[in-house]
């Protein structure tokens, strides 16, 4: 056979036809399809016996009981514990995804040091301690050492303060309060022995909230829900908030004041309560400044306030009536964390409402709380003073230790940076994630993440009864992780261990014979523990200790700080300066409890802020279509939001739920792409809040 062109062609044709009748091509096709179902990069599923373990969520102070479904030792699903004294079966979305936090992409699991180009590089623990000690010892005169604790109230918080107490000049800092400002204001105004207060919201029949995210994770969510979805008589909600938050949109009555005029709304409601005799006069009569207060609220008839706030008089009357016929009712201030706190005068006006509604020391209102007993010897401890970051002089912190809290920045970095010694301030983070302020740290000595270590869960700050539970360690700790107490031991040269302290605390509780322990499954309350160790074991097994509700009678003396109200409120009536013509819009940031700023979110939260339109992330701003039209902005446009303090890029969402003339921007989360917070461009007003800044919006080409 000659190998000519013709034969070659014939061979090719014949071979092509022939191969089709062999099994080879068909087998190949089948195998390739099987391969498409078994790609090696698709993870293999874990296997092992299924068990159930119990722990407590530490991601926010609500202290929800958690049932962890495990395969082998590994939790793969978290659900609430029905019957849990605080949470009764409820977890919020943070808690539902919390078991993924140890695998967060920005997790730090060994000591890191900021390298020459600003990137964090591994460093040995000893080297880091030596260098930090050196910086502490060598700090200049007039400069301080500080710890910023984002989860105050724990035994570890006391350990921080005790460590700092060993230095003459050290300060203990916590971020600004939100949920508890109304309570601390009330506490200051009464003559009852200075104690803690709590909202007895589970028994309230009505609540008026000034921007507090009542239905969006506020306080102890399970208790709010218990009241809100109470069969037969659900708690009524009056929401006073410019933004149509989740709470506002679901409220029975939503009052949308112009930004910054909330105090006037409170005063007008007080005016109606008094003038229409909706509440017993005796409620007010026990206040020291009652007469002045009466006179002041006389200046706020609903008609006059309508002009200031934009709220029709009949709506204000309706709000007052709704509260008055649904007693016990309570007024809640504080605002939303990222949206800026309420000012002192606003809180005083809100306190006035509580007074008029008779909410003080009334079940369903605001109740005193007896704090859990503390071991006697702890009272001997020398503790560093508790300071607000605002009170720390600028350029004064030489070494700042960011506490172990995995939550993000409850303070904008710009605010912290201002307090550091310029160019020299050393920042050490004990947080388990390179997120929030940790990103700016010179050293990161990461603590264990949620589920990796035993943690204490103290009383939720809004609670009416003290409680204590333990978050058990369900996962092994990565090797490089450092206990915060060990860091403090090494820096102070004295032995500090948290575990024994927690056991002492349990022993003190047992000695006091107060309260009950509800077991892990939320079913069996136990009261009599023979030893402290027994109680401790019950807590570690997932039990929750709760103190009894304190019986109380209303305080006799209330000191009304009327001057504070009039000052602020009169400013609202007669604005000192006309609106800024160059920045005619109002920029109003808002937070999502526990998820704003650049705090650490479980990885699956992308479902709610990136893969759906349910919650905006830091890259979105919402504006009313009319506001957008005036600025020639269309839905989805890239825009520049400018204030006197700076500017940031956003993507515009046209949203009819936004007040015309207002720009709403979430403080977070940032998603994988953002690296800034809108709060950095918000202006602080003289009330100390950043709820509303003059702004403008411009389409970017």
């Amino acid at each position: 056979m000659n190998a000519g062109r013709r034969n070659l062609l014939r061979f090719v044709g014949g071979a092509a036809a022939g191969v089709m009748i062999t099994p080879a091509p068909w087998k190949l096709i089948n195998d390739s399809a099987l391969w498409s179902q078994n790609w090696s990069w698709i993870p293999k599923l874990p296997s092992g016996p299924r068990t159930v373990k119990y722990t407590t969520c530490t991601l926010c102070p609500a202290g929800c009981g958690v049932e962890a479904r495990c395969v082998g030792e590994q939790p793969y699903g978290l659900v609430g514990v029905t019957g849990h004294p605080l949470s009764n079966g409820t977890l919020c979305p943070l808690g539902v995804g919390a078991h993924h936090l140890p695998y967060h992409p920005r997790r730090a699991s060994f000591p890191l040091k900021r390298g020459p180009v600003g990137k964090h590089v591994p460093v040995s623990f000893d080297t880091a301690i030596a260098e930090i000690s050196h910086a502490i010892e060598g700090r200049g005169r007039g400069t301080t050492l500080a710890v910023l604790d984002e989860r105050p109230g724990r035994t570890l918080s006391l350990v921080y303060r005790r460590f700092l107490g060993g230095f003459s000049d050290a300060v203990y800092l916590t971020p600004p309060a939100h949920e508890t400002v109304t309570l601390s204001m009330l506490s200051r105004m009464t003559d009852s022995p200075a104690g803690s207060l709590g909202f007895d919201i589970a028994s309230s029949r009505a609540a008026i909230s000034f921007g507090a995210p009542l239905l969006d994770g506020w306080g102890i969510p399970a208790q709010v829900n218990a009241a809100r979805y109470r069969a037969g008589s659900p708690m009524k909600i009056v929401q006073v908030e410019t933004k149509q938050s989740r709470t506002a949109s679901l409220a029975d009555l939503w009052l949308a004041p112009k930004p910054g005029t909330e105090a006037a709304v409170a005063m007008a409601i007080a005016n109606v309560l008094v003038n229409q005799n909706l509440v017993p006069a005796a409620n007010l009569d026990r206040a020291a400044g009652a007469a002045e207060y009466r006179e002041l609220i006389g200046q706020f008839p609903p008609e006059a306030v309508a002009a200031i706030t934009g709220i029709p008089p009949e709506t204000i009357v309706a709000a007052a009536q709704m509260l008055a016929v649904n007693l016990p009712a309570v007024a809640i201030g504080g605002g939303d964390a990222g949206g800026g706190a309420a000012t002192a005068s606003e809180e005083t006006a809100i306190a006035g409402l509580n007074l008029l509604l008779g909410a003080f020391h009334t079940p369903g209102g605001i109740m005193p709380r007896q704090e859990p007993p503390v071991p006697k010897e702890w009272n001997e401890w020398k503790l560093a003073p508790h300071s607000s970051i605002a009170d720390v002089p600028d350029h004064s912190i030489a070494v700042l230790i960011l506490g172990d809290s995995p939550s993000g920045d409850a303070l904008p970095w710009t605010l912290i940076a201002k307090k550091l010694v310029p160019g020299k301030g050393l920042v050490v983070s004990l947080a388990p994630f390179v997120e929030g302020p940790s990103r700016h740290a010179d050293y990161i000595l990461p603590a264990a993440a949620f589920l990796e270590t035993l943690e204490e869960v103290p009383t939720p700050p809004t609670a009416t009864t003290a409680s204590l539970s333990i978050a058990a360690a369900l996962l092994p700790v990565p090797k490089g992780v450092v206990e915060p107490a060990l860091v403090l031991s090494r820096l102070s040269g004295t032995e500090i261990a948290l575990g024994p302290l927690l056991e002492q605390r349990a022993a003190a509780i047992q000695e006091s014979k107060r309260g009950i322990v509800t077991d892990a499954a939320g079913s069996k309350p136990v009261t009599d523990f023979k030893t402290g160790d027994e109680l401790w074991k019950a807590l570690v097994a997932g039990g929750t200790w709760t103190a009894e509700l304190v019986a109380s009678k209303p305080p006799v003396h209330v000191d009304f700080q009327v001057a504070a109200i009039s000052q602020r409120v009169l400013v609202v009536i007669h604005p000192a300066s006309p609106a800024d013509a160059a920045f005619p819009l109002a920029l109003t940031p808002y937070a999502w409890r526990g998820a704003s700023g650049s705090s650490v979110l479980p990885p699956l939260f992308t479902k709610v802020y990136q893969e759906s339109l349910l919650r905006g992330s830091a890259i979105h701003c919402r504006v009313h279509p009319s506001t957008a039209a005036e600025a020639h902005v269309r839905d989805g446009d890239k825009v520049l939001v400018e204030t006197r303090c700076g500017s940031c890029e956003q993507r515009a969402w046209l949203d009819a739920s936004v007040m015309p003339g207002v720009i709403e921007v979430p403080a977070g989360p940032q998603g994988s792409k953002g690296d800034y917070s809108v709060l950095d461009v918000c202006a602080l007003d003289d009330g100390g809040t950043w709820r509303s800044s003059g702004a403008r919006i411009r389409r970017m080409s």
Binding site: W39, E611, S612
Partner: protein, 249 residues
């Protein structure tokens, strides 16, 4: 023969998103690819933010949790060329068989509820997180479609448990989908619509209960209820103004 279904109380839902996270946890849906958006992400459960369209401040926002509506007359199953959509006669659950799926996306065009999601990317979890996957649900691969299956793995487990006890009927207490279990406001009721004694069947006959796009004839098994007329109108194109503005030009 059961007909599993839901009644979702829109007056209770506060749009917290716990159900969305719980669903992804239960069903091993990976976190978003860095480039994913609300149009390419995978959310078997998706809570829509709806608006009554009224001018401010009469404007009101509410939330509608949406997942596969488990249509009894099943548009997606009718069109799938290779039978990758399973209609379970025993339970009424519409299940998806990702190993069988070609990724042609015809079913996505067919589904009026936008309840189906394509895997535009390879599924990927942050390092170590694969250890925390639900051992009962196989992850899917790039290029196939997936959707809510009423937590089918939980149904299987409940059925196995019943079989172990020598019973053919699943105890309702043993079968609760993840979204139902996680909802902090207990807005979602789940159960057998075919059992007239069940809570869910009774709730589905509430005078304020309705189904979405009822007139399409899909006979969906997810009911909603609300006392707000404007939200009930959201069920029917005839009753509302179509939103004209484009989302993301």
């Amino acid at each position: 023969m059961s007909r599993y279904g839901m009644v979702i109380d829109l007056d209770k839902c506060n749009g917290c998103g716990a159900c969305m996270v719980a669903c992804a946890v239960e069903n091993n849906v990976p976190p978003a690819n860095a480039d994913a958006t609300e149009r390419t992400g995978i959310t078997w459960m998706r809570v829509f933010r709806v608006n009554n369209g009224a001018p401010y401040p009469a404007n009101r926002v509410r939330f509608i949790p949406m997942m596969c509506q488990h249509c009894a007359d099943t548009p997606c199953a009718h069109v799938c060329p290779q039978n990758a959509v399973d209609v379970d006669q025993e339970t009424g659950i519409i299940d998806q068989m990702p190993q069988r799926c070609l990724g042609c996306r015809y079913c996505m065009a067919a589904c009026p509820y936008h309840a189906r999601f394509f895997n535009w990317w390879d599924p990927a979890w942050p390092a170590g997180m694969e250890k925390a996957l639900n051992p009962s649900v196989a992850p899917r691969m790039r290029g196939v479609v997936e959707k809510c299956n009423f937590c089918h793995a939980r149904y299987q487990a409940a059925r196995a448990k019943a079989a172990g006890a020598g019973s053919r009927t699943v105890n309702p207490a043993d079968y609760t989908p993840a979204c139902v279990e996680s909802c902090p406001t207990k807005a979602i009721q789940f159960g057998d619509l075919a059992d007239p004694a069940s809570e869910v069947a009774k709730a589905s006959h509430d005078s304020n209960a309705f189904r979405l796009l009822e007139r399409l004839g899909t006979e969906s098994k997810v009911y909603y209820r609300t006392e707000q007329p404007w939200i009930r109108q959201m069920s029917d194109q005839n009753l509302v103004q179509i939103r004209k503005e484009a989302r993301h030009a």
